[in-house]
Point group: C2
Chain length 270, copies 2
């Protein structure tokens, strides 16, 4: 079993949820299984905090944060996992079973924050949403009826995650010595070798796209839909790199330099 | 992995459910994870079959059966498992974690039908309901917020059960050779050594209570509540006996004989 602070490094991200009752249901399952960081991206109704199905989950709903894009919602996460009911649709991502996923996420949260994304009731996660993910997890439902109720899907995922992690003790949060600066003033080595956060990966993605367009590798888009496709492809590719924090910094520097060289103006100040 | 017909030997029993949407949600989770036998005991609204939350679960809802008591709903089951959120309340039953329970139920369905009982949203299962159970399973929720939404609880339990069993193929149901009469006309040995069904255990319970009252072991009840308490205690005790089908028959015969001897009239015809 893992140290208790690790539950606090899991963020549940609900994207474009239509029914506020489902947000309430997700919050209730989070509270049941001891997860407390709920993030919502452009829900259909802003009134979700009053959701009646959130029995006992007022704490989670009150602390929930709203974001206007997936990129912002996952910015501080170094692992982003999408959920899907699909087993056969053309997959651009590695697809893992829920129990594999639980084990991998439990390992990851020792070092960094993980976001688990759930899409809207009707359509699930869009391709754009998925392009922010490192990989996808699939709940093992029947092929003939794969699509789960959102609140139930969240409950099943959190049950599995809680099997692999220990529950947090809210009254006395665990503090990890390794996360503090060392006595000699240096931060622990783990800081730079830790996986890069989503906000850095997104900056790399945007700079890389700029560089590719400047270079002519990606032609100036004739139609916006083709442009979106290229963006998603590059975004996924960057997530597959498994960059560390230090490597991400290096990449940012390299890309800025190349963009400058290609004539788009002066490089950003580092 | 186990033969596919074993999913069909699991019955989900919803007792006194108040909100028909929760019956719909339970049905949807059943369909997602490949379970099809839904039984409801005196739901608050008879209109549950139209539940809107049952996306894709029409098959399950249409086939659902209504019963007027737990005893009738579980009559053909040889293992009856109650679900609870309680971890500390005074337990009269063995309490197993959900993953233990999944493994035990998967073993049991090789030989007989299992019922998994879920109580009402407000109160869970009553002591009378619980007295029909062999043991209880607990979903590992936080002690501070143990009570789950009904649909989510069903989903989590079925996810765990499906981990231990194989999904049924609805188009070509598996037929087990051992369940058929043997060529020589005898039924397989497993028939009599199989665990006794709930209806036989309930007949034993009622005869035993009659015998105990006739004998003066249980005094004629001064107040009905004390009588109910004695009934539940005896019912639980009978479930702990782990009787086989053959042993249950023997017990029925023995009790009938004792009752006759104690003067309550002629013994029932065997």
């Amino acid at each position: 079993l893992l140290p208790s602070s690790e539950h606090d490094r899991v963020s549940i991200v609900l994207v474009n949820t239509r029914n506020p009752l489902n947000i309430g249901a997700a919050a209730r399952a989070m509270s049941n299984f001891g997860f407390f960081d709920l993030r919502v991206v452009t829900p259909y109704e802003a009134s979700f905090r009053e959701a009646r199905s959130a029995v006992g989950a007022v704490e989670v709903l009150t602390a929930a944060r709203e974001f206007s894009s997936v990129a912002e919602a996952v910015a501080d996460c170094s692992l982003v996992v999408g959920t899907t009911a699909a087993s056969r649709r053309e997959m651009q991502h590695p697809l893992r079973s829920l129990d594999q996923a639980g084990s991998l996420i439990a390992k990851h949260v020792r070092r960094g924050r993980t976001a688990v994304l759930f899409g809207s009731e009707k359509r699930g996660l869009s391709n754009e949403d998925l392009s922010h993910c490192h990989w996808l997890l699939r709940i093992p439902t029947r092929e003939e009826h794969g699509s789960m109720n959102l609140g139930q899907a969240v409950a099943v995922c959190l049950y599995e995650l809680a099997r692999h992690t220990t529950k947090p003790h809210r009254s006395k949060p665990a503090v990890k010595a390794g996360a503090k600066p060392r006595p000699n003033g240096k931060t622990a080595a783990v800081e730079t070798s830790a996986p890069a956060k989503a906000k850095d990966l997104e900056r790399i993605t945007l700079l890389l796209l700029e560089a590719l367009r400047l270079s002519g590798y990606i032609p100036a888009p004739a139609e916006p839909s083709r442009s979106a496709l290229a963006d998603e492809k590059i975004r996924r590719m960057v997530r597959r790199l498994n960059l560390s924090t230090a490597d991400a910094e290096t990449w940012l520097g390299m890309l800025r330099q190349m963009i400058w060289k290609m004539g788009a103006g002066s490089p950003e100040s580092p």
